[in-house]
Symmetry: C2
Subunit: 438 residues, 2 copies
């Protein structure tokens, strides 16, 4: 950027963890040094990185003098004013974070698990010590959704929010839709492509999504919620058949994290959801993430981008580092801090009203549909439409019923009765439908 | 929010202008007082509002003691630390803004015109006096796109950006697409619905969009650009025929503000653009706004929401007020300020390479297509496909040609030659095509 020598300050940071995101941060700070200097008016310098094995072979070129296998060298260094935690997991990450805070160091983390489970403790520790705690990277990697909620929408109450916050699940559902493949086939392909972990459980069973939902709820509604109190259902039971029926009926299936404010209570849930095909969120395909929200006065908003990956997530990490660096350079610890509201009751999933897609597998013989419809009627569930086709007498065929709005409890009960029928050949499936997405 | 009496500070602001957005701000501060107090830890109090006529009948309930027709009462009040300018236009708004800055007051404005034309002077005045200058509301009302660029993407270089930043034009193009109506018919309807001003020129001729593009360029590329140096073309010449052909060819027509970084030069232009139907931006309909961008490391991003309207825009204004209030409460003026880069050369529109949609109106007689194709060939423009149908010998019919990539200059020259043909019955139309939107 030319030879002009402008005297700039320097902010020294320490890192814990040097995996995909950590390597991304190192590279980003190097590659965008001029850009960051121009925007911040100072340099961000990595002073020390704590790693499990200093001798491990890495594709990243990094001075070995930066590496240490002693976390204390990061935590105890008085020149390090900010600790970037990218090791993930709950323990010992939580301990390290608390130690760093205790020593008055600002924190930036991408660790949704530790924040979802121990947010109350960590945020309050940071507040007490007046240090910043940046966690933009923990939700939707390259999408600055937390900043949008905390700053862009600071003057407005978000009343509902629907997020595709797990790229692996979205990739799997997208491929099932476009290729007609099974969950298992697509998962294998996703793993080969690096879109799914060797152990994909947290991604596909909704755990990763519910961690992110806890953090979104904090910023959107000002509440700190227990992970365990949120209904969480993964995509494991969604089959190629369901994806095909959804298409035919004008819907797409997405794994959504959903939050709705209802006075003093709220809805918070993670589950596969059918969305009308023409809604913006339904068109978000592949590994991408997106959050659709409704603000009371700002109206609808959609934030779309890369949800994961080393470099996109690194841009979020460094955006927090720069934000905190601005405070340090201004001589302040933190700029204000939001007060939480008293926790709101989460409406039990049994009480949540939705239209449902119901898919039954039953032996094709006279009277089956009447029986199923009868059970639905007993629970007060209205039928909007029925698809039963490809008659194969005495073989198992799918019966699909779209219902009017019904409570989760009624649907659960009706399905339990249906599943008792001898002609029903596998556990019936219900997928909730959301239509209020503009 | 309950009876707990927490001692909170108070930030007193003054306003200039009380139109749609100004009234929105007054209402929002009133309705969301508790929310803002909880998030900011202080109250925002309007001390004075300068209006043209204090006695004017307003639907808004407001204490008459707040109103004044003397702007000086806002500018000279030492208790007012922040001035919110919502009068619009260039003069006297610019003068008031400079006076307020000179008196050390922070500024929040929704005035894209004054910032686009006099940004260099206004931003540098604010920097010199170390006061904040918030302008989130000036681009895409309810979408916090400026904050996303300045903070969320602070560590990344945006390399290209495509914005639907004028809701009126987007509404008109959407209605033309869905209803097949003419520009004039839809404009009338838009005016009836309040989606278009009585004088819609700035909206439909691209001026409003280019103002916003200047501000987006500032944040995305760090450059201050002259409005006049940006090629600006409105939607006035797009007809129902073009919308229909676009649909048939798999495209949608949108008025886009486009910016692309190319080393030391850049592209910056506003014009009707064809986008492949399946791209996210192409699905943004009605009065909504959206910005699609590519970050070097963060990847693609889309920000969608309400582009205008009193309340959505008010949420943006107040987000800036709160941001500046946080600085005031922290005892600092501004938190850092980005250095601009030396201005980059804008590639002349004649040099910009695009595929084009070309629509000719010519008398249907043998040899016409050959002549048109010949002129295109002379300019080195390759033809990708041709549509000519509904033969009506000796009547004027449309001939549509999709080209391969060609420079603006070549297309302009070819069209000038075609328009000389006696069989050509109206001025030919070229619409640029953008396909790099994921």
């Amino acid at each position: 950027m030319g030879a002009s020598k402008i005297q700039v300050g320097k902010i020294q940071i320490g890192m814990i963890g040097l995996g995909t995101v950590g390597s991304g941060v190192v590279q980003l700070l190097e590659k965008n040094r001029d850009l960051i200097r121009r925007r911040l008016g100072a340099d961000i310098q990595i002073k020390k990185i704590a790693v499990a094995q200093t001798q491990k072979k890495r594709s990243l070129k990094i001075a070995s003098s930066l590496l240490t296998d002693k976390v204390e060298e990061v935590l105890n260094d008085p020149e390090i004013s900010m600790v970037v935690e990218l090791m993930g997991g709950i323990d010992p990450a939580k301990r390290y974070l608390l130690q760093a805070i205790e020593k008055g160091k600002h924190i930036v983390t991408a660790n949704k698990a530790v924040l979802a489970h121990h947010g109350a403790e960590l945020f309050s520790a940071a507040e007490k010590k007046k240090v910043g705690l940046g966690f933009e990277a923990s939700v939707c990697g390259g999408i600055p959704i937390l900043r949008a909620l905390r700053e862009g929408l600071v003057a407005d109450q978000v009343t509902s929010l629907y997020g595709i916050v797990n790229g692996t699940s979205n990739y799997i559902l997208t491929e099932m839709t476009s290729e007609g493949s099974s969950f298992e086939e697509v998962l294998k392909k996703a793993q080969e492509k690096g879109y799914a972990e060797a152990d994909p459980r947290f991604d596909v069973n909704g755990i990763d999504s519910v961690h992110k939902l806890v953090l979104l709820l904090r910023l959107a509604f000002g509440v700190q919620v227990d992970v365990e109190s949120i209904y969480t259902e993964g995509i494991g039971r969604v089959g190629p058949l369901d994806v095909k029926f959804a298409e035919e009926l004008g819907y797409r299936i997405k794994l959504l994290a959903i939050a709705k404010l209802e006075g003093d209570s709220m809805e918070a849930r993670v589950h596969p959801t059918m969305l009308p095909k023409e809604t913006l969120l339904a068109t978000v395909d592949g590994v991408f993430n997106a959050v659709y929200l409704l603000g009371e006065y700002s109206g609808p908003g959609l934030y779309f981008g890369s949800g994961a990956g080393g470099m996109p997530t690194a841009t979020a990490v460094v955006s927090d580092v720069v934000d905190i660096a601005k405070n340090i350079l201004s001589g302040i610890g933190v700029r204000g801090s939001e007060r939480m509201v008293p926790s709101k009751k989460i409406k039990p999933i049994e009480e949540v009203q939705c239209s449902h897609y119901l898919r039954f597998m039953a032996v094709d013989q006279p009277g089956v549909l009447a029986k199923i419809a009868g059970f639905l009627g007993e629970e007060g569930i209205g039928i909007a439409s029925v698809i039963q086709k490809g008659r194969k007498l005495q073989q198992s065929v799918p019966v699909v019923i779209m219902t009017y709005e019904a409570k989760g409890r009624a649907v659960e009960r009706a399905l339990a009765k249906v599943d008792q029928l001898p002609v029903v050949t596998e556990k019936s499936l219900a997928i909730r439908i959301e239509t209020d997405l503009g």
